[in-house]
Symmetry: C2
Subunit: 571 residues, 2 copies
């Protein structure tokens, strides 16, 4: 491929309406053009990347035994009514009326269509298991499409749907897809993590999200430095603490006239924040469904996790207590609350780490005072309930006992899910089992945001000069840059010979024969993120060298021809 025969259109200016770096760089590199809100044309350059992502996904899905189909984008309302999603799916479902006044939707996902396909195609357990996948254009009518193709309305997705005779076989294919996703993101050259997307970690409706790691990611992830464990921070389990230490201090009341936060109290007393306890007053319900005042305790350096708290009995729909409710039960103002001697009967819920503390500090339930040297059992009753109610933090022990937790940000690009019998039941899909009886198959579904990966890869791989593609999805792996192509013919010939040899070595190579000045040419090649660059110049030819530079390297090197080629083929 010669760039002079290609259509490349880069710009120096950062578009004003692009908020995230991937959107900015895709526009500056000329990979996409906006047609409407959340609707983009992929330019020749952008499409090269998109197709490479698509190819890796297709190959790995096929290698894993999934079978490719192509389902329509236009889906009839009747199918969506069978599952009740015509109404329930909400505003993201783009509804369309045709010339005969029949209603359709532009498919945002294909559970209904694939189940309809399967109920016509599959009639016997002998045809199971089967996993149908497609790589196809979808539309979700986002209220606020943004970040370019990161959250577009029209987008390219790989979706797969598997059908099984029983949950065990679904579990087997789920693991197969989980492993396949790992291979896909590894081949794409991306740093990623699979995170548990639901707390029912083993069995039941198991679900994992695959995240590309990037500082700009929307989701905070906790991952073990010593194992595969990873989860959304909000859902990550805190490791159980060690046994409670023995009491060594006497309980004492301390003056904290203006110290309303654990940080201030710890600073005043000259103790670590982890020796203080934060008391959060909330209102739940008792078994008779009457309001119940609850004090939730976490260590001063921890934060209450609302999802975990809401899983406790009586707290499903808890709310924060009002100042009046607090005064009624504790006879104090927020900032001075604690579990010792409440004015009225309350429920004490302690995080597991709090239950393991000794010689700790809590509010005195008296404005202007805290109590230090507090110990469970000796100074107050054991907590009514001990549970994991906090967010994990960096450095926590991994809940699987291997290594400690780190925190990273991620962009969700894949999701695997055990659907179970939901769709097959709703749509009356059955197959005959071994005994000739009608049985409802169980399903799994497995999605990858193909177009989103392109943006996520940029969020993870860029610098001030532009994109830095992993070799596997670069528009080209190497640019052979010709200095002054209208000058000495031997330079052109050497460049073209080099291009041929690179292509013969299996490298996706492009010749930059546009005749730009070196500075402008190199800026383009860096902006569009070509990982390898070889410069062919008259001076180099005379010296018998080619200038090689990796996109991440700070300096160029003068190499002989074979060495330069081997740098590229080494990846």
């Amino acid at each position: 491929m010669r760039l002079s025969q290609f259509h490349l259109h880069t710009t120096k200016e950062t578009p004003a309406d692009a908020e995230v770096v991937s959107h900015q760089l895709m526009l500056r590199a000329g990979m996409i053009r906006k047609l409407a809100a959340g609707v983009y044309t992929w330019s020749p350059l952008g499409l090269r990347v998109l197709r490479k992502v698509e190819r890796v996904v297709r190959e790995e899905m096929t290698n894993a035994g999934a079978i490719e189909v192509l389902m329509p984008s236009i889906q009839p309302r009747e199918l969506w009514e069978e599952t009740g999603r015509w109404e329930k799916f909400g505003g993201q479902l783009l509804k369309i009326k045709d010339r005969k006044d029949s209603w359709y939707a532009y498919g945002p996902t294909h559970e209904e269509v694939v189940t309809d396909f399967a109920r016509q195609e599959l009639s016997s357990y002998k045809q199971l298991p089967v996993n149908f996948f497609q790589i196809q254009t979808k539309f979700r009518d986002e209220i606020r499409p943004r970040f370019g193709v990161m959250r577009a309305r029209e987008f390219l997705m790989k979706d797969a749907y598997s059908f099984h005779a029983n949950e065990d076989d679904l579990g087997r294919e789920y693991r197969n897809m989980y492993d396949t996703y790992g291979r896909i993101f590894t081949r794409l050259g991306l740093k990623f993590r699979a995170v548990v997307a639901d707390t029912g970690a083993i069995g039941g409706a198991m679900s994992h999200e695959f995240h590309v790691l990037a500082d700009s990611g929307e989701d905070a992830l906790a991952f073990s430095t010593g194992s595969d464990y990873a989860a959304n921070v909000e859902r990550a389990e805190a490791a159980a603490p060690g046994p409670r230490g023995a009491a060594t201090e006497a309980m004492r009341k301390v003056d904290t006239p203006t110290q309303k936060t654990c940080e201030d109290v710890a600073a005043l007393l000259g103790i670590p924040l982890s020796r203080t306890v934060k008391s959060v007053a909330v209102i739940g319900v008792d078994p008779e469904n009457n309001p119940r005042f609850v004090l939730a305790l976490v260590r001063g350096d921890h934060a209450v996790n609302e999802i975990k708290l809401a899983k406790l009995p009586g707290l499903t729909e808890y709310r924060l207590a009002t100042e009046d409710e607090i005064r009624e039960h504790l006879d104090a103002s927020p900032g001075f609350l604690g579990p010792i001697a409440p004015a009225k009967s309350i429920l004490i819920v302690a995080d597991r780490d709090v239950a393991a503390m000794a010689d700790f500090v809590v509010g005195a339930n008296e404005d202007g005072f805290h109590i230090a040297g507090v110990n469970w059992g000796r100074d107050l009753p054991e907590p009514d309930l001990v549970a994991d109610i906090r967010n994990v933090v960096e450095g926590d022990a991994s809940p699987d006992g291997q290594g400690t937790l780190g925190i990273a940000r991620g962009i969700e690009v894949g999701h695997v899910f055990q659907l179970g019998g939901k769709y097959a039941q709703a749509m009356g899909m059955t197959v005959l089992d071994e005994n000739g009886r009608a049985a409802t198959p169980v399903m799994g579904c497995y999605g990858i945001g193909v177009s989103r990966i392109v943006a996520a890869a940029i969020e993870q791989n860029h610098d001030a000069n532009g994109i830095i593609w992993p070799d596997a999805i670069a528009p080209w792996q190497v640019a052979v840059c010709v200095i002054n192509p209208k000058g000495v013919e031997a330079v052109n010939e050497a460049a073209q010979a080099l291009l041929r040899d690179l292509i013969a070595a299996g490298v996706d190579a492009v010749l930059d024969d546009r005749g730009l000045r070196p500075g402008a040419m190199f800026a383009d090649i860096e902006l569009i993120g070509i990982p390898h660059r070889i410069v062919v110049s008259e001076r180099g030819l005379q010296a018998g060298t080619f200038e090689y530079r990796h996109r991440r390297a700070s300096e160029a090197e003068q190499l002989d021809r074979d060495t330069a080629i081997s740098r590229v083929t080494a990846g």
Copy 2:
């Protein structure tokens, strides 16, 4: 690939609602499943064929210098209003309102979108010429979708749009695309013809259609047996006849009491049909726009071509004359009309072949009589107008002077068109020319119905047992059929070794290891149209032979292994 790991679903029954053979066979082979009217899911088997067509189209377009992009399916109303097509396009345009009450269309074609893309991307003549193509899903809201994917609403199309500084360069690229289409359909293994789609054959808005030849085709095509000339029968030019022969008979009135057609008259008189003249009475307008009675004359074995007739002056919106009008002007009933001695002044328009006749037979303008031995000049004045007003017929000389015409039926699968400046003008797209002045580029557009080709290929290639794919687009080129795979293990091993060797030879091969009885297995393989079949059986292994059969062959052959493989690789 092993069929036991694939999803194949064939049926014996011909679906009642499938009218054409390609639709019937695609359903029976399980290539497609209907989701809604004109909306189909492509099964694993069908998709294999579709993707092979797509790949050939993509490769040849790329080789021809076109650059691939991907434009959205959802297009904003505002763009379509710039060209006036939001209203003009008609009911096929599927209009969509999003959640913010903005209007969009599901793209039936992409002239507006590509011109919008180009006006952002292209600013200088130096960027021209450029030809952008995509392979993308389109929707046309057909009133009567039918024939399966032949006339679907949602379909896959390759569309390309080129931009040029001038008409000459457009003509060059038009020729390039014309030649590329020839290479595409040749590689697909299809018999096809490019036909002139418009009479402005040279220059102007040139346009050609590409048709796959099939008896079931909707369009009748005339093609030269001696050259590339081809055209829709309705638009094909009749070759000029030789000079008029000399009069040898005397004019005489003949009794034709019940003979109202040329066929009956010729039979009665014992002369060839080509000696009779058919008179068709129509009403046009004279230069003052008053109604004008016109008698159009074609040879008895020819038919009036309505499109050609309507191109004559005063006949643009002609209609057939009523019986009253005929009696007023000719004083006779239909069946006995002729150009001699009309009751009132009329206009005589003779087809060129009629003007070249001598000693011919016409109606007498008197019920029950014809006149034979008629000669121009001697018995009646020369015609007022002589023109090509007939359909060509099989055996006509080709209008380019090379060979004679054959007539075939075709299915339109491609169209190349010189758009000129229409869209760029409407949308205000300009580039700077060599003198720095804003200039409007001219455009070409080039479409191929990718999904339609699959159906057209079947219409051309099938028999009573099913589809007969050309090797290039067969789901697999060869099926290695194992007889009794659960029997002798050596048979399985031999089949798998053969499969490996075929694949190593670059053949797309599949192993039928499903364990069906031979009859059912062979019926499936024939129905789904695999062009080559090799049977591996215990008996064959003992004899050292493999049973080879081409899908078109009447008999199977017992061949040694290498010969069997070479039959497949020979295509």
